[in-house]
Symmetry: C2
């Protein structure tokens, strides 16, 4: 009896420790074959036709799409018309009030007092939300710091001066988003910290992986209880030059001139289009990106191309005559860059909508070659999703991992799974928020393979549910 | 008793079906942690210092490195000096006789008889090994075909004409090497097939994923029993133009002029450098690429940057003070493009060498962002190698799969495992064998992450053996 029990227990222990994995791989052979075949068609058509890439060319011709700008409205109407032209079941604009900040035509910096470098220009870009300088600019000595602690130690010594935050993007980190995250406080909080100690302006070494003369902009914040000072990015190569120059000549002065302006909020829109599900039309799968961009380059990778990838997914369903069982909805969120208003507004709508938001997929990491999907969901669902990898791999998706989706879709609180599309990130920070983010920086095959990856995941979700 | 047996059998069945996987994951926790830590250092230093990328800049300044050319010898001496300068234990040149073909200064095509298009130039590039045209060129009508079958059907109708092979690179295929493979017979065999039916020359639509006016060269063959005719690539956009033009005007003629030449074989070298193993110096791990290139661009991705990645692996060991247990040897093989003589010569040496070639890693798919390693070995070794994925993943290696290594290292017949480094392939065929393959086409982080991937695999092999 003892022996019986021993083996019985051992057997059952093994069985149950083994079963979950076995069951999790239970997508039947026929479905797997069919899905793989559909995935092949999706990949092939996306790569061959390069339709999204052509759309991106059209979008980039409109120019950058900063929230509240005329361009952003043009782009919104362009997307609405494009969605209508592909025969979606519904296309609509969701009104959103957005902040309006305008860069205007002056953003200059020049070495104005120096024995050696007088007249040397420095390439800068006002940060989004910054106030202007007085019309004759701000002229002051420059104090370089790498951290807020260093600034705190200097304290009053920065009074009347321009604080120069020069902590570099750490190129040694493999994850460029991590490197970005470790430097970005200089941009977001720098003006507040510098003003605390009486600085008259602040500049920040551009947060980028590329050494060039192109400044990278982005959002910055003020604190109402602390004086507001002008705040701008300086290109990496000019930051390195300036750092050397002030070591040589600590009394060197620079003059900064910026005429950017903040305005009251204005009306804008999320652009939404959908294909109704043939069987479960009240279950919605959202996919989208943020449609606004910074006002440098044309916001190609951030986030024009990814937006277009999500639009093209719906068009690909039409082109391939795929009729999704569940409703698939493309949402182009406005104002992620400096407010997240579009995401928040859609989130509010989703909370009260009669339809159920099953899943949402965000594309906001550029349109580079696909690598994987982050997903925020329970572990059982993750195991199930991993069954789909042999299908997703057709578009070079090598993994599904627990991880963050993105700022916009994270506002959809009740979705069972929130996905973040993860393309390769090695080139992203070269272009991010700068003039480098132009149409030419997007590679057609990389973009179209991403479209295919998004389409395959969307198709699987629409057919299999969650 | 029966019950005992049943559960015993069930238990043992489960146990043994389960065990291999468990054992295969048995790299102990401490080793795993240590290896991960070393991998982190490798990745970080490689990305931060970008030393290989700087070396590539130096190499590209020398120019392209076609076998037998003066440039190729300059590059060989440059690599030898570089290896010596980093303090390797041995550096030597292995003599190899290589073919010599010279493009020379004339390769033109022009529409010479046409009502509408007379005088329109077409961008062409002689294929490596092609004979020249007569000094006054070859003037003839053009017959377009897509396949050799189509050519066969036309038969004598191509007599006295120029055969124009216009089967496109299939952009719908996700694997660009597969698309290349499906089009390349036009280049390699086209002159033989066209001459069979009396054609006087042949041109081939460039085998590339990019639509531009840049022709892509490559190796071509003759058959001694069939007349030799001049054979050249035409750029994709000119191929499309020409295809339309001859449909409009079938009697249109073009004149091709080429003055390339074949010479007798000349002396060249493989460049070899190594760090002796501290414990098993008679076990060698080879890593390398082919050092020759085509004579367009500077052979940056094909195969300059990958060669430099393998050189930098040894230098990284020095920089990080890693002392490999087994000997690691970088071999820069000459003449892969039009002869494979370097690989064959090294293979002969390896067959008779006193040292044991444990493993060899080839890098010949460009210097794009890393994805995985192909490996040719037994299934037990593959299972074991897969244990290393959490370590290799530090450099974004997501998989190890059975697959081909590369033409050069495949000549090392007795190695236990032959690896092929597989970076992302979406942009490779844009530049391959053309002027597009210049220094600017290589991204520093993508290249350096590849170096790190190669270094981590080399380190694991050197420490753990196979």
């Amino acid at each position: 009896m003892k022996k019986i029990k021993l083996f019985k227990i051992l057997f059952l222990t093994f069985l149950f420790s083994y079963l979950p994995k076995t069951l999790a791989q239970s997508l039947d052979e026929k479905s797997l074959t069919n899905f793989k075949s559909t995935a092949d068609s999706i990949v092939s058509r996306s790569l061959f036709d390069q339709k999204g890439y052509e759309w991106l060319k059209e979008l980039c011709r409109i120019g950058p799409r900063l929230s509240g700008s005329e361009n952003s409205l043009k782009a919104i109407y362009w997307a609405k018309e494009k969605m209508e032209s592909i025969g979606l079941d519904s296309v609509w604009l969701q009104p959103v009030m957005v902040p309006k900040w305008v860069r205007n035509d002056i953003e200059t910096a020049i070495i104005s007092f120096s024995k050696k470098y007088k007249g040397r220009k420095l390439t800068i870009a006002s940060y989004g939300g910054s106030i202007a300088t007085p019309a004759n600019g701000i002229t002051a000595e420059v104090v370089e710091v790498k951290t807020f602690d260093e600034l705190k130690t200097l304290g009053d010594k920065v009074k009347g001066k321009i604080v120069f935050f020069n902590r570099p993007f750490d190129k040694g980190l493999v994850n460029t988003f991590e490197a970005y995250g470790k430097a970005v406080d200089q941009r977001t909080q720098g003006a507040i910290e510098a003003a605390k100690y009486g600085a008259v302006a602040s500049i920040v070494r551009s947060i980028t992986s590329k050494d060039d003369y192109v400044p990278h902009t982005g959002v910055m914040y003020y604190n109402d209880s602390i004086p507001k000072i002008p705040h701008a990015a300086i290109s990496v190569l000019d930051a390195e030059f300036l750092s050397r120059a002030i070591k040589e000549e600590p009394t060197l002065k620079i003059t900064i001139n910026m005429n950017c302006e903040n305005y009251p909020d204005v009306l804008s829109y999320n652009v939404i289009g959908e294909i109704k599900g043939s069987k479960f039309s009240n279950e919605v799968i959202v996919l989208g990106g943020h449609y606004d961009s910074w006002d440098k380059g044309c916001g190609a990778h951030d986030d024009g191309a990814p937006c277009i990838q999500t639009m093209e997914v719906l068009e690909l369903f039409k082109r391939l005559n795929l009729k999704p069982k569940r409703t698939i909805r493309c949402v182009l969120f406005i104002n992620e860059e400096n407010g997240l208003r579009g995401g928040i507004e859609y989130g509010k709508y989703a909370d009260t909508a009669k339809v159920k938001h099953l899943a949402a997929i965000e594309a906001d990491r550029g349109a580079f070659t696909p690598r994987g999907f982050n997903v925020t969901t329970d572990s059982t669902t993750i195991s199930r999703l991993k069954q789909w990898l042999p299908i997703l791999n057709k578009a070079h998706i090598d993994w599904i991992r627990p991880g963050g989706s993105g700022g916009d879709v994270a506002q959809i609180k009740n979705a069972k799974a929130l996905f973040g599309f993860v393309p390769d990130d090695q080139r992203y920070m070269d272009v991010h928020h700068s003039d480098n983010d132009d149409f030419e920086s997007v590679h057609p095959r990389e973009m179209q393979l991403g479209t295919a990856a998004l389409a395959i995941l969307t198709y699987l979700l629409s057919e299999e549910g969650l």
